[in-house]
């Protein structure tokens, strides 16, 4: 589900269906860059590569704006460094479409993010010929660090109160535009409050959608809709205009980007090249780590607290046979079919003990590929060397939901899935 190539393909089909009569904007509500630093203080080379391709891909495939969320700040800090900024802007013009009205650098080595961008479109329906200036502004909540607790300084940036920032920026933007879209990386209630507190806003696009909630809600004259996690479903807000050029109504939908939507060949080429570069960078990192044999990497089998499925099979043959027939035993193949076997974002739920002393990479720890016994039952090397009762109890369904969570597996129902692996 999802992916840039299907997203682009759907949008082209959408434009084609309406004979390109309908101006179509494409926006992202935030968390577009990976902030996965593992144990390091800086983003590793492979994560930098991934993020670079997002900036390039979003620019090449005509995204109009993206909101900077707190999660994006480690990489945005790299993009907005004043040193070399002109060269980066020339290479990746999309940097100037990353917006935030409430995020500011803590030092003078970084440029301020733009609070908003303005796009002008010409209507061909409703009020044909009418030019509409659309302002797209970004807001993010601060970084949550506990229940009702937030960190307002993160990765070299200060995250101000988004509601105060809205009161400051929106009247100015209203002067310059006819229609305002607010991108809001915050919880549902806060996104709704943003709309209800600020009558200047026409549309709020929130993030962190965890279930199908298709219909836009309305506050003041604003429609509030939420993007689906990982954009597996593409959000589509249709805006209807009256003859006088004023917006009349807005209706939102979420479109499943499944295999019924073919990949756009141009976008697919970008995704494939990105994969290739990312894979090379990750393999290089894995080799460096293997050579350095970092103590926290636990790269060799002898260092690992995990025993591996073949060891388990020595005593638990019946359970092993059930496992071999399950999808858990072929989890890595699922990723390989999509060339995602090197992407840690995906790998973590397709192996045993990722970043816990088990799987590191296909290159260094292939014996821990696939979802093996110890992923649920816990590290078993000690148990294997001295078998005794008391090892391996699993708290279900909580343990399953670590990976079979709503955004990854919206169809997961424990009572339906458990019989498939019951042992």
């Amino acid at each position: 589900m999802g992916g840039l190539a299907r997203r682009v393909s759907y949008i082209k089909a959408f434009k084609n269906r309406s004979n390109t009569e309908v101006p179509t904007l494409l926006v992202d509500a935030g968390n577009l860059f990976s902030d996965d630093r593992f144990n390091a203080t800086q983003l590793p080379a492979e994560v930098m590569t991934k993020n670079k391709w997002v900036v390039k891909g979003y620019g090449d495939f005509h995204h109009d704006a993206a909101n900077i969320s707190y999660l994006d700040l480690p990489y945005v800090g790299e993009l907005l460094k004043k040193d070399g900024l002109d060269q980066r802007l020339d290479e990746y013009p999309f940097i100037n479409r990353l917006v935030s009205a409430n995020i500011h650098p803590l030092d003078d080595q970084h440029r301020e993010p733009l609070p908003y961008v303005i796009r002008e479109v010409t209507l061909k329906r409703g009020a044909p010929g009418q030019k509409v200036r659309v302002g797209i502004v970004g807001f993010s909540e601060a970084k949550p660090v506990g229940p009702n607790s937030f960190e307002t300084s993160y990765a070299g940036f200060r995250i101000d109160d988004p509601f105060e920032a809205a009161k400051r920026v929106l009247p100015e933007l209203k002067q310059k535009t006819d229609f305002i879209i607010a991108l809001a990386y915050m919880d549902v209630g806060s996104a709704q409050r943003l709309a209800s507190d600020n009558s200047e806003i026409d549309t709020v696009i929130g993030a962190r959608q965890l279930s199908n909630m298709d219909d836009a809600q309305h506050f003041n004259r604003a429609a509030v809709a939420f993007a689906y996690n990982q954009t597996k479903y593409l959000g589509e807000m249709r805006v209807y205009f009256k003859g006088d050029g004023k917006p009349e109504n807005q209706i939102s939908r979420l479109i499943a980007l499944d295999s019924n939507i073919p990949d756009d060949p141009f976008a697919l080429e970008t995704v494939t090249t990105a994969h290739s570069e990312f894979t090379n960078a990750q393999n290089a990192s894995a080799q460096t780590a293997a050579i350095a044999h970092k103590p926290d990497a636990l790269l060799s089998a002898s260092d690992s607290p995990f025993a591996g499925v073949e060891t388990c099979a020595g005593c638990h043959e019946k359970e092993y046979q059930i496992w071999t027939q399950s999808r858990h035993a072929h989890a890595m193949a699922t990723l390989e079919r999509k060339s995602q076997q090197f992407d840690n974002e995906c790998v973590r739920c397709h192996v045993v003990g990722f970043q816990r002393g088990g799987f590191q990479s296909q290159l260094t720890t292939p014996q821990f590929a696939n979802v093996q016994c110890e992923e649920c039952h816990g590290p078993g090397k000690q148990h294997a060397s001295n078998p005794s009762k008391g090892y391996g109890a699993v708290a279900t369904p909580g343990a399953c939901i670590q990976c079979h969570k709503q955004p990854n597996d919206p169809d997961f129902v424990f009572a339906v899935y458990w019989p498939k692996i019951q042992h």
Partner: protein, 90 residues
């Protein structure tokens, strides 16, 4: 003598006219190139292709996804949380 001078002047005029024509044609082609491509190229060639689609938009499965064209005048497509991945895990 006078006839020779006249012939030289005519040749000069023809050559001048050819040069002016050439300048006009080159200027016209250059102007066309600017109009079509813009004065300042960003350095990023357009890799997105045009808006044409390589599949049948009337395929029932695609039509079902597109829904009805009910007169909307502007569309906002939106997403979030790709977290560094242009492709999802599966």
């Amino acid at each position: 003598m006078r006839g020779e001078l006249r012939e030289k002047l005519i040749n000069l005029e023809v050559a001048l006219r050819r040069k002016i024509s050439l300048v006009v044609i080159v200027t016209f082609i250059a102007a066309l190139a600017v109009v079509n491509n813009g004065c300042s190229h960003s350095g990023n060639p357009d890799v997105s292709g045009d808006d044409s689609v390589s599949f049948d938009v009337n395929d029932p499965k695609i039509k079902e996804r597109l829904g009805e064209d009910d007169g909307y005048a502007l569309a906002i497509m939106y997403g979030a949380d790709i977290h560094g991945s242009l492709e999802t895990c599966g």
